[in-house]
Symmetry: D2
Subunit: 306 residues, 4 copies
């Protein structure tokens, strides 16, 4: 059953034509209160997430909500509480963590192939699409924050952000630094006005370094047997550092349809009463980072504790 | 005539063998005070720049100094003053501004092909070489700061920087944001521990966008006829923004040996009593940015006025 | 209305489920003789093309036939005759000539931008899919032969081919040379066992040279302002040839769905009684080249007149 | 000691200036008969190879001759005989077989990593330089023929070639097919008028497939764990072939200066009375292939036995 608002009536008609068996509605409450509805998927502008999800939870429905989970961390906390109280499944749609590439990267990091992680550097840039209700950080960074959280097990302690606006007062370009207790540094570049589409993540480790290029048709992940070793810090002019350059290896990445895996997992969690790993708490973690970005930008790039 | 210190005696021997006509010395004063020496080129660790250059100026010699000009802006100011007082030519070796690529980019920007500049985003990363006396910002960013100054005529008003260290207390990875009075935002990524060598600069303008890939064998500069136009900021959900995607054009870049052009220009400025555009003032501009980076990093990424 | 043979009954079921309005049949005659059927699309193994198409024409239906048109040139000629006698439209599905890329290339060649054409060099290689009833030439080369015919207006006069087999007695790798009255030389590389997917065509002209990379996400067509001019052929050792290297330009390629345009054109030709440019004659031209390839391979690569 | 002819006097002057210790001469006989000369390196147009090399051998000198060894196979045979009779070392400069890339490829093939070789496909194309005395095959194919001979241990049994001329009566584009007793097929594309420089070799084996891109700055060799297995040749429509797609691996390639290794090896062979693997016989093998190309082109691409 699919619900859309007034301006979406044309889309409902298209959906009905293509999937004649689909029931449609223009009032979301028809879905939320549907007696034969067990779970609700919320794919609306962020500002509507909380009200719809909260209503659905109150109506006893499980919810799967598009990223970012909510517009504020308070909202996220209320969803988590409501969900817990009613023993319902709340899941946030961090699709990328279901892709073959991200799963392979986590596997490599967990096995220790990269060694201790030195940096995590991500770029997600392209031309458009400007969103009306959120800036480029709220639009794109949830992908990267959720991917990093999935791969890197250390919790970030602070972040800083800056950006600029060329259309209205919403940033369309932004850079974010995320700090950790260790000397791991993460950096995110999100941009709606880039002439080329870039989706790369560099993960530099003490043993190996990895580049994930999600735009590449093949060999999306490249693992470089490269690194350096400090021989001595006592040299007169140059540090005595030796550099290691070995093979490159591009592991096969499973071609899976992430959204299918994710929705299957959602059903599985509901049926078997399992807490999904990308639950409300995972969603809150990302929302808190987004809020910190906003706060940092408003205070001239000040470092904000998480 | 070439001078090198004790530990460089082997290098002097190599130089002598290869260029038998070359006079060598182990004491720089022999060069600086050489009665048949008109100009001195200083290619030493940064910490030695000022003393050598100042001595050379006092000895009445013109000086060409490797980037960055000096270790502090005070030193740079003293060189500028001494140079002016003695009517000598002081030039800083910002080699890149003599390359065919940078000159072509400036030409395109000056002609207005890109329109108003929205952002300037540069990455200069590779594996090594760790320097002993300076961090990655002092090593690599002078290239990018001097290139940007040459291309973008608006003066930056502030910057912020952050970085992390994995060997000693010198940053080997750093990110720098540079702010302007307009909504132009510049960003610099410098990194000594990247598995791949990247030398790219994105310049996004209102009319066109440009990508300069200095590692590319051919088509180093690509100009994209891409952009967006705001139709209305009153849309319900999406901004009414239209995106334009047209041709891409890779102008021919002259293959010139930048260092040869630069040294020729140095001689030309001396002979014809011209003030080089990359004079002490240009060098000072970069040193001030480097100092601001240091200050920002020491104060948790605070924005520092320039 | 869709017909499939016995072994395709599962596919019919899938099609029915997805498009409930679709009528299906297991006997092609139901389609061919359908009183409410005006035109028949034939998408079967090549060996079945002729019988089905001929039957359809005899039943007064227009036909659109997948490439290659038929298994022999005799069959193609009979379809052309039958089609002409009955004033029906016969069209061969050379899909690529409806793509934005091929249309742009033809436009550039027709405008004379490339000058006189010196060579045409195409590679269409990847891993799989082995066909049972035809070799790699019959499977892949029809694309390239039809594209070349569309772009190059000079008629080829002869060809030679060679290949090798690793599975059965059908070539899975082949190289084809196509000769023209002028000194234009065309070459085709088709391969089912390549580790990487390549779809490139080089067209070298007296004025400019063009590379079409159909696998590229962007800038599929690159036009190089490169060439050479003979200064003198009297030099002692080297020819006095000067080389020209100018800008590269990647024209925007329209993103159109070729199959949609083609089927629309098929309907348009039928309704308005127009002869499609990719009619039976165009299909025959390709079949004759395929036959010549077979003959050349059987006679050790002998050059076969067309 | 270096000799150059009259028109090369300017080059001799340059050489002398750069290497003051170098003795120069304008008459090659001065070198060939020099009493303090043990070995002669011949780097002249092909047409002069034989006379100079034969004279040097008769004067008791070892010779290292640029590729191709001679202008005819008769000449090559005479050099081999003279060299054997006088127990002198004759070596042909097939430089590529000393590169880290070619040595790594041979190592992989010899270890059986690729399995049985199915095809060898090479492209060596760029813009220029037209040679006066030889066509593009004689200029470029010796590289590829010698590389293939070094890597593939099966002897070719026949070849065919075709080409076209756009300047004089020398081919500037050519394609060569090389046949083996097994179903291995080799193919070579050499072209002086390509807008882009390509240096790739594909080697497809039963177990793995390899792509060598000599223009790539890094990862010159990529080994693909890709292939196919025939399940059954009895399928109705499609062959029952399964395709395997696994990891890709780019082994580190040693950065060695091939020419230095080769000349060292030349000296080593002379001193230790060893027969170099790239001796006159290896040179003759390539010359015979070049002659066969010429014969094939003159007889309309006929297959020529080797």
């Amino acid at each position: 059953m699919a619900a859309g608002n007034g301006s979406g009536s044309k889309r409902l008609a298209t959906a009905s034509a293509r999937y004649p068996a689909l029931r449609t509605a223009t009032d979301p409450q028809e879905v939320i209160r549907g007696s034969d509805v067990d779970a609700v998927v919320i794919a609306t502008p962020v500002s509507a997430h909380f009200d719809l999800a909260f209503a659905a939870l109150q109506a006893g429905k499980h919810v799967l909500i598009e990223k970012p989970l909510t517009a504020t961390s308070d909202q996220a906390r209320r969803l988590i509480e409501e969900s817990a109280r009613r023993k319902l499944t709340t899941m946030v749609d961090h699709t990328f963590v279901y892709t073959g590439a991200v799963r392979k990267i986590r596997e490599l990091v967990d096995k220790g192939d990269l060694g201790r992680i030195y940096y995590y550097d991500s770029a997600r840039v392209n031309l458009g699409l400007f969103q009306r209700d959120v800036n480029v950080i709220w639009d794109l960074a949830p992908h990267d924050f959720s991917i990093m959280s999935y791969i890197i097990h250390e919790e970030p302690v602070a972040l800083s952000a800056c950006g600029t606006c060329h259309v209205n007062d919403m940033e369309n370009i932004a850079y974010i630094n995320v700090f950790f207790q260790s000397n791991l540094l993460a950096h995110f570049n999100v941009n709606w006005i880039s002439p080329v589409k870039i989706r790369t993540t560099f993960i530099g480790g003490a043993k190996k370094m990895l580049v994930w290029d999600d735009v590449a048709a093949d060999e999306k992940i490249k693992v470089y047997d490269k690194g350096f070793e400090v021989q001595s810090t006592e040299g007169l002019h140059d540090l005595l550092v030796s550099y290691r350059t070995g093979d490159m290896w591009a592991p096969k990445v499973e071609q899976i349809e992430a959204l299918r895996v994710e929705t299957q997992y959602f059903i599985d969690c509901i049926k078997n009463d399992k807490t999904p790993f990308n639950d409300g708490v995972a969603g809150l973690r990302v929302v808190k980072m987004l809020e910190a970005c906003k706060e940092s930008i408003m205070s001239q790039g000040k470092m904000i504790a998480l």
